[in-house]
């Protein structure tokens, strides 16, 4: 055991490895912060550079890009409400209002602290619980997935603010938009109307940028000059009491991230929203969520980064990639004649432990890179809005195009921006729309696959303890939401109801 550990440490402790990981985290942070540049894109771009490297060095570089990208997505979400990743849109719910209040640095700091803590916890879970969690993930079939996603949709109530009906309506529109494309079972067109560009459905990044960034730009132009306030936006950083206050939400979010991260195909966005929803539900400041609550930023980032180490569990323990990024990393393993899975733990245990050491170090690197960048990045929020918003728009145009190299995505972004602006003016929240748009295809696919599996028998949704567990959680969450809303309504004095 100790000999293996010593050999692993010797394998890791080389300048190339340490540098590759650091450079990876830096590249990932930058890529994640650019709207339109996704983390999978960053990992894919870095992949060819690993061909000539040692296996451990190459894989550490990719892991660094992955981890940096998860955090980097939150930077633009907080500063300009243009999330770099779907999960970061949850961070923007409270991060952007904080930036507008002149607390950009505080929000960025808290996002970093929560990211590092959750990443560290996720890495620990990878090291200690890989076997147990992998077998848990393997017991998920279509019915279990369906009930999990139904439960995840209860988040909508939390991110709908005061207008639950409007939030539900927005979620409905998100589900409807997710239908566009080819039918997953029969391959027949749905809502394509002969348009080739719509065959593959709508890419979520242009929808994301359109829904969150463009409405802000349009809204800026709809205000008078006196309403366009400038403030000392860099502000003070987050303090230890701030971190301590949010620690409970960070730990909870990390656990949610780990559990959802091991399940293939779920990803960081549901984890971030679920963590946010739970933080809001249990917080004494729940009315401040969505208006600039630091705990909201912490919860969202903890959920998002909690998946980072956990997604590697099915990859390393079973050889099953849970998402696009881990699929690319699997490719990197295979390029070097390595096959992740149970056999690798027997044949290449030294490499596995060396990777674990590197993964643990990546949390520290994330902290260093984040701390170094925040002070300068936060200055972006000090740029006058009359310059910042046109620049954001141009950045969005390049970003939306670069995802698939198609002008059609720019059109999708603009159309979604106008829809988002309309929603903003009508007080319809955008977050439920986005959650439903992301979860919609998973929900429908697993619903139909389950029914096909059960030969049309609906009781398949109630078979096994996992389905019952998630139904139970769903009912419990709904009861709590209704109870809290009724309690909140009764406590509002007459005439102030909104």
């Amino acid at each position: 055991m100790w000999e293996t550990l010593a050999a692993s440490f010797a394998m890791f402790a080389q300048v190339d490895n340490v540098l590759a990981l650091f450079v990876g985290v830096m590249i990932g942070t930058v890529i994640g912060a650019i709207p339109g540049m996704t983390t999978p894109m960053g990992v894919a771009l870095a992949l060819p550079f690993t061909f000539t490297m040692q296996p451990i060095t190459g894989i550490l570089l990719l892991l660094g890009v992955y981890k940096g990208g998860l955090y980097g997505g939150s930077i633009t979400a907080i500063l300009i409400n243009a999330p770099g990743t779907p999960a970061a849109s949850c961070t923007g719910l409270d991060g952007y209002p904080l930036a507008r209040k002149g607390e950009a640095r505080r929000a960025l700091d808290m996002a970093l602290y929560a990211s590092c803590t959750a990443d560290f916890i996720s890495n620990l879970s990878l090291i200690f619980f890989a076997g147990i969690l992998a077998s848990f993930a393997l017991s998920f079939g279509s019915p279990e997935f369906f009930t999990l996603i139904v439960f995840s949709l209860t988040i909508i109530a939390s991110v709908s603010g005061d207008d639950l009906l409007k939030g539900l309506g927005a979620a409905g529109l998100g589900l409807a938009l997710a239908i566009v494309g080819l039918d997953a079972i029969f391959g027949t067109p749905r809502f394509n109307f002969g348009n080739f560009d719509l065959m593959g459905g709508l890419n979520f990044i242009p929808v994301l940028i359109g829904l969150f960034a463009i409405p802000e730009v349009l809204n800026f132009y709809s205000k008078t000059a006196t309403a366009q306030k400038l403030s000392a936006l860099a502000g003070k950083g987050a303090s230890l009491p701030d971190y301590r206050k949010a620690l409970k939400s960070i730990l909870r979010g990390s656990a949610i991230g780990v559990i959802l991260g091991v399940i293939p195909g779920i990803g960081g966005a549901p984890a971030a929203f679920l963590s946010y929803s739970e933080a809001r539900r249990t917080s004494n400041n729940r009315n401040n969520f969505g208006k600039g609550e630091l705990e909201g930023v912490a919860a969202a980032e903890a959920g998002n980064n909690g998946v980072a180490g956990a997604t590697l569990i099915p990859l390393l323990a079973l050889g099953v990639p849970g998402d696009i990024i881990t699929a690319i990393i699997l490719g990197a393993f295979m390029i070097h004649d390595l096959r992740p899975g149970p056999l690798m733990f027997q044949q290449n245990i030294t490499l596995i432990y060396a990777l674990f050491i590197g993964i643990m170090l990546s949390s520290a690197y994330l902290f260093i890179v984040g701390k170094l960048s925040i002070r300068s990045i936060a200055r972006i929020a000090d740029i006058p809005q009359r310059i910042l918003f046109p620049v954001v728009l141009v950045l969005c145009v390049f970003g939306a195009y670069a995802i698939n190299n198609t002008i059609f995505d720019v059109l999708v972004m603009f159309v979604m921006g106008i829809v988002g602006f309309g929603m903003l003016r009508l007080g319809i929240p955008a977050a439920p729309f986005l959650i439903a748009f992301i979860l919609g295809p998973l929900l429908e696919d697993n619903f139909r696959r389950s029914l096909r599996l059960g030969d049309g028998d609906w009781t398949i949704f109630f078979q096994g303890w996992i389905t019952w567990f998630f139904w139970g959680l769903t009912v419990l969450t709904l009861v709590l939401i209704i109870w809290q809303r009724m309690k909140g309504r009764n406590s509002i004095p007459l005439g102030e109801e909104g």
Binding site: I185, T188, R190, L218, S222, P390, V394, Y401, A402, G427
Partner: protein, 169 residues
Amino acid sequence: MKFNRNIVAGLCFVGFGVLAVAVLIPYGIVQPPSVKYRALSPSFWPYIVCSAISVIGVLLLVYELVAAARNRDRTGAAATTAGRSAWIAWRPFIVMALLLAIYLTLEFLGFVLTTTLGLVALMLLAGERRPLIVLPIALLLPLALHLFFVKAAQRPIPGGVLDFLLQRI
């Protein structure tokens, strides 16, 4: 001008739901020749979703109308455009027209030229009139973004009419 945005939102939901159920689903979803169960049909899920949107819209309308009948003071539901000049009220629509112009010219003029012109127009519209601020940003930012995406990220950004120049950089 004062309008109740909850009623407008409710009408939008109902309008979209009805349009989808009556027109978009029947004409926009191709049915396979045979489907074993109704729930497996490609149109089953869209019907549920779009019907639900209509129901939510109706509930929102009923809720608002009942509230209006009770003559409650519903702060936040009402939105007003009073107090804003016509120019300010029209500015988002001018930006929308600019977005359309940007989209239509992106491929022909290229990203650099289109976004340079777009940046100048957007900054002027936003009230930034200092040439020493507007011109350097409008000229350098699109060029920097073009170079980043083409050289570093290996994305083929259309150069349009400036393609011959950009390829030499």
